[in-house]
């Protein structure tokens, strides 16, 4: 579906450059669904992030009877079935399960978004530099990216985290971010190569604009579109990787709540209370789905000239 109104548009020196049509995105059911899911999850995550002294989230302070760490001492036999007080029952430690399920969104989204933001930043900068300057800068940076892409990164990430024994969330951001920048750099570079060749940038250079200015105001905004698509997919991947790491015991530590960890906790009562294991998995799937749909929608609504580049990843 090539948007008819975009064909033949010539870029100008002062054009916005972002060849994403927001209207086109919203018109497609996939993109619309994606945006809705992502937005709801982000709002939920924001509400579920603890702050203040003592550290409780907005959700706990205002809407929930039970915080994610409060145990209900009236329960005789944990884990309990759903009832009036606990709509999804309680877990092994007699904590309200619904509350914990909602709060898991916070870590997943924090890790997913922050790590990808890091990957995006590094990837855009590296790709722009490589595509703009070419020559030995290009080959060195791209060799580095190729090596990273050739390695099985989840395994190395696992070894890295297991080795450095602290389990801070910052380490997670860093490791996942390092895993993601290479693909984005390749995409950005491909875009920059084509764009930098275009007439307008030569014209701008003739007018005396500095390299940095060119990169920042003309090259990058045009190159960003496919990178954003890759970033959306990257967030989905980060969320699943975080769950995988938490499952293996290498993710965030309590009192932070992670859906991956909840799956492990629920594993011991899988046959008795299957929802303790099943629901966090579904929550993960839902969140990941949102970002995947968003990526699909973004991909379909960007300029076809830029669309070719997305198939490299």
């Amino acid at each position: 579906m090539i948007p008819e109104d975009r064909r033949g548009t010539s870029e100008t020196l002062h054009g916005s450059g972002v060849s994403l049509s927001i209207r086109a995105l919203l018109r497609r059911p996939a993109g619309l669904a994606g945006i809705l899911i992502v937005m709801s999850m982000t709002i939920l995550a924001a509400l579920a992030t603890p702050f203040g002294e003592p550290s409780r989230s907005l959700l706990t302070r205002t809407m929930l009877d039970w915080g994610p760490q409060d145990e209900d001492r009236t329960i005789a036999l944990p884990p309990s079935s759903p009832d009036r007080n606990h709509w999804l029952g309680t877990d092994i430690q007699r904590r309200d399960f619904l509350s914990r399920l909602l709060h898991g969104a916070s870590i997943s989204l924090q890790v997913g978004l922050a790590a990808e933001a890091l990957a995006l930043t590094i990837g855009l900068v590296v790709g722009a530099l490589a595509g703009f300057y070419r020559g030995w800068i290009d080959s060195t940076l791209m060799r580095l990216a190729d090596i990273l892409l050739a390695l099985p990164l989840p395994i190395l990430a696992m070894a890295a985290i297991a080795v450095f024994e602290t389990r801070s969330i910052t380490l997670l951001f860093a490791v996942l971010g390092m895993m993601g920048w290479a693909g984005i750099a390749r995409l950005t570079r491909a875009q920059c190569l084509t764009i930098a060749r275009r007439n307008y940038s030569e014209a701008a250079r003739a007018l005396g604009a500095s390299d940095m200015r060119l990169i920042a105001r003309h090259v990058l905004p045009n190159a960003a579109a496919p990178a954003l698509v890759a970033a959306a997919v990257g967030v989905a991947g980060n969320i699943l990787t975080e769950a995988w790491l938490s499952f293996l015991g290498l993710g965030v530590q309590p009192p932070a709540i992670s859906w991956g960890r909840m799956i492990v906790d629920g594993q011991s009562v899988l046959t008795l209370r299957p929802w303790l294991c099943l629901l966090p998995g579904l929550a993960l799937g839902m969140t990941v789905l949102g970002f995947v749909l968003l990526a699909d929608g973004l991909r379909d609504s960007i300029d076809p000239r830029a669309r070719m580049a997305t198939h490299i990843s």
Partner: protein
Amino acid sequence: MTWMRRFLLLIVLASVVAVGVPGCAPAPPPAPSTLTYRAAEDPPTLDPFRAGDDNSLVYIHLINDGLVEYVPGTVDVRPAVAESWTLSPDGLTYTFRLRRGVRFHNGREVTAQDVVYSLRRALTPGTHSSKATFLAMLKGAADFSAGRATDLPGVASPDPATIVCTLEYPYGSFLTILAGEAGSIVPHEVYDDPSQAYLKHPVGCGPYRFESWEPKVSLALSRFPDHWTKAPAGGIERILFRMIFDSTTALEEYKTGGVDFTQEIPPGQRQEVARSLPKDLHSGTRLSIFYVGFNHRASLFKDHPLLRRALLHAIDTEFIVRVLDEGKDTVASGVIPPGLLGHRPGGAPAYDPDLAARLLAEAGFPKGRGLPELTYVTNDTTGFRQIAERIQSDWARIGVKTALQMSDFAAFMKALEAFKTDTAAVYRFTWFADWPDPDSFVTAQFGTGGVGNYGLYSSAALDQLLDQGRREPDPAQRDALYRKADTMLMEDAALIPLYWYGQDVLLKPRFTGLKLSPLGVFGIPWEEVTAAP
């Protein structure tokens, strides 16, 4: 579209075949006289003089025999490789008469020299043996294991059928030490072999001999036909150990018949298992404690005993035991468990959050202000993780922030060794009695320089008391001394005892004659269990 349809059909058929055919061939069931035993993982070692963990000891106790052994289900000893013994009136000299016709798995007959060799080996400096402290009461042991002497006067064999053990001081529980792995009798030709084949293919004189080991998959032991005991009719001919790491998977395997015996019920399932498998469940107690220890070198803990007491009173131990462990264990009111001399019955749980808050304020940290974040070191097994989260939550209530440091078991043990002077760290710990005596329980953990004393607690008064207790021959006196030691430890808040272990095992009802040992699952005498077809 027939091409299309045919092609698609082909694909569908291919997938069905790929998935379906493997699923149709059933595995042959094991023989009725085989016990399929769920082991959590591969044993770290099969050397009786180096093993100290629950896992390795299971195999070691089946493969090896000593001069004496435990009466099943109790802590009394009876003759084994020795057919009788006498004790001198001063309690220092044990004279053992060797049974005739006892053989090693390689066919050779056991002689008194083998017994001497084995006991010496436990004390020889170069063998990396961890049992040297167990046998420290033998005459000359201290010099021998320090390398200062090449003679061990405490162990001698005046004739090929007699072994004489002489002690430095009378020690009532000496025989129980010989009944454990430290008293294993091993053949010198195998253990002196430089290729160290015994590590992968151990040889002993016990009721079962090593058959095969497929790491991460299984280990098999089979009945030794030339053992000095006769197998009961319908006895277990073969024990097949299957390595199943996850306890939930193990329970499922048990229910579907994949294993006949498992000893770890996953958290949250105990009530259900007790209800649905009443004939399979066997419960007992164990001479073992779970506690939270302090890094006593950290100035925070060394200089603030009130802080330690506050932390002790802040933990709801009853909740942990009743809810998390579902009543399997007993709340610990002291250190020494019931069944040992020195146990103080009738203690009350210490949970009192108001008292904890008051003590915290008195210690100089009202509501936790000014207190740095504590680190709680634990390994990552589900049950221990739940306990860690509960303690973190309980302490958060009085204002104490805790960071959890969770890792695998080996990394956990490393972390314990590496406590720096000022790390405000606490750690979870399990200790089980190596032999049924308070000396094995308390000295190693709280005596200065004890092998289990990772918190590096040191009290001269306590050391003196423990030394007295060790050498005191009168049991009533010992009881009083160890009670005093226990009281001293609790008043000084040297540790936060949580519970004394119970044990739960599941065994298919067609096996009869199971007797649980207070020492642990490794004490189960499988050679006396019979299997109905």
